[in-house]
Symmetry: C2
Subunit: 388 residues, 2 copies
């Protein structure tokens, strides 16, 4: 898939961002708007303490139509009770007034610290006049949703006459289940909401739902797909292939920028008894703290791969058929440590992208998980996130 | 439970340890012997890549009789194939010859790096004459089984005329399932093997099986209970109560000494729909990297507790009934952040022991999990474990 070297927004989409005083200086409010109504699908976190914006969003998306997305960072509006829900509604109403639409067509997201009251007055005041800032460049929006991300995350690609653009944020508290932290996907292709929903679920299933920074599932995860139809009909198969490719690429970008991460770790499990078992094994390896620290230290302690496979108690393992490779170098053969050169594997583990492949030899199940290494940076970010 | 201020071994048990050249200087081989045959029960790891000593131990314990335990550290003899199993048998035979028993009455354990050949000649040579070193003091044995532990781990307690003594090692790769890393429990009480097995399973279920340093389940976990009967019959209820209390205390000691840990974290979930759901929630909270770093940094970011509860997708949660406390200070009330003083909670999080209590309000399920905070020390230990 050839992503644009300079990402763009599809026809009819514009965005803006501002500092409205939630953070000292950085942008903390982003607005995304389509010139016309969009068919839309949204996936939300499965966490049982979803934020107020998620509770509201589940109502909003029932109509299958969105016109705008408003996102603040710094405060997630989670565990804030009935007042939090009121504030989320006020945020939608403010954005709707600003862009001239109905609040029921505005998706609200908030990301940041949990359990702190949303400074709604600052957001309402800061939002006023924001429509005048809207531009066709995706970067202001991508900057506006960042929290501990080290860079804005944008991709775009062409499919026939249409464009698909991904704008996301990641970094920590990421083991999504039905979506990543925050990912907005805009397209000018024409599809109805149920079709978008099916495509988005299938794409998330092999990308954001296979992404884990730290096994912690955020209370705010939201992944939205908005199609405004301005480029007309697009071949569904080509569109879905591009959607899947972009979601996987964005999952890799988020994993690589995991808090404190120095490496992207991709773990493919193949030859498993089922796709479900392949997913379980790939996730277990990518989430193992001892595998993550092995990569961080480029330490060829490859027995840990077997530990992380073997701790999946309920999957089918035939020890004598289990093989594993690190960046193409075989390190496990028939369930036993292979005869490899430590220095070669140490060097492979030093690559920015470390691909671990596990072959189970018991079926055809195949899945890939995306994660990162575990370093002091993660602890630094998270030992004082609230206080700083 | 009043544990002895200076731990002792029960009547008829002795131990010794030596450096046999697996490590540069520290003790790396430990031998535990009873003067007479013991009724015994052993729990092993559920990891699907168990070490050779675990495979052998499952055979050995079928007889329900043990006379000795031989343990080496530094190399775990895991993922070593048929040769590894032969080496484990040779280790049992060597110990049996040394103490004058049958190899089928010797439990073998190995702990350390995975996937490296066991230096069996060094062990066989180093074991010779070790019977002469045996003494009634538990400390040589406790020192002999340490790997990254910062201190030897021994407890003893009196029950009527009998004594129970726990000798364990912990530190990393610890989320046992049926046992902790290595824990040997010796008693001079009289019980048959099936009785010991039932007692040990029940005790492990609320202690070692609720312990997690890092979610990684070792391939070598072994927990053995040996009863030589030299103190005669003991009241079973009193014995089991003491056994449970000691296993819980040892789980706490191991958690507190988790690699890099500065805090013991205890998480009690009560009012859950079932004990199983309480266990799931307590484990989720104690294992959450974001909860662990919150404790490491004494950062009162208590919304993370709700995140860690809520990511248990399949348990019954009534958000409005969910409360939580940190060392007695209420931080969540009715699913919403409580009105607490940040500084008070920050101070509570600074305690060496941080007890988190979660009340679900939907049933009577109650469980407690044991863990530790996540610091740079964990990463330092594990980013170069193989190479150093």
């Amino acid at each position: 898939m050839n992503f644009d070297s300079t990402p763009v927004l599809p026809h009819g989409f514009r965005c803006a961002s501002r500092n409205v005083g939630l953070k000292p200086v950085a942008k903390d409010l982003a607005l995304f708007v389509s010139d016309v109504d969009c068919a839309a699908a949204v996936l939300f976190t499965r966490n049982q303490f979803p934020g107020a914006p998620v509770l509201l969003g589940r109502e909003t998306i029932k109509g299958g139509v969105l016109r705008a997305v408003i996102v603040n960072s710094k405060v997630s509006n989670v565990a804030t009770g009935e007042a939090g829900l009121q504030f989320a509604r006020r945020m939608a109403a403010g954005a709707a007034a600003e862009v001239g639409t109905d609040a029921r067509k505005v998706l609200v997201s908030s990301t940041g610290v949990i359990g702190v009251a949303l400074p709604i007055e600052k957001i309402e005041a800061g939002m006023r006049g924001m429509a005048a800032d809207l531009q066709a460049d995706p970067m202001p929006g991508a900057h506006g949703i960042m929290t501990t991300d080290t860079h804005p995350k944008v991709l775009s690609v062409r499919v026939g006459q249409a464009t698909i653009t991904w704008i996301a944020k990641g970094a920590g508290m990421i083991e999504p289940n039905m979506a990543t932290m925050l990912a907005y996907i805009f397209t000018d292709a024409t599809f109805d909401a149920p079709t978008l929903d099916g495509m988005l679920r299938r794409a998330a299933d092999v990308s954001f739902n296979m992404l884990s920074i730290d096994t912690d599932t955020s209370t705010s995860d939201t992944c939205a797909l908005l199609a405004n139809g301005m480029a007309g009909p697009t071949d569904p198969a080509s569109f879905e292939a591009a959607l899947v490719a972009g979601c996987i690429r964005m999952a890799e970008i988020i994993a690589r920028d995991g808090e404190g991460a120095k490496h992207l770790i991709k773990v493919r499990a193949r030859g498993a008894k089922s796709v479900g078992e392949a997913r379980t094994i790939a996730k277990s390896v990518v989430n193992s703290p001892l595998v993550k620290t092995m990569v961080a230290g480029a330490d060829p302690n490859v027995g840990r791969l077997l530990m992380a496979i073997g701790k999946c108690f309920d999957v089918t393992i035939d020890r004598s058929k289990t093989d594993a490779w690190i960046n193409g170098h075989q390190v496990v053969a028939g369930g036993v440590r292979g005869a490899f050169d430590d220095d070669v594997v140490r060097k492979a583990l030093g690559n920015e992208v470390v691909t671990i492949e596990v072959a189970l030899g018991v079926g055809t199940g195949d899945a890939t998980a995306f994660g990162c290494d575990l370093t002091q940076g993660y602890i630094d970010e998270n030992a004082a996130y609230y206080s700083s």
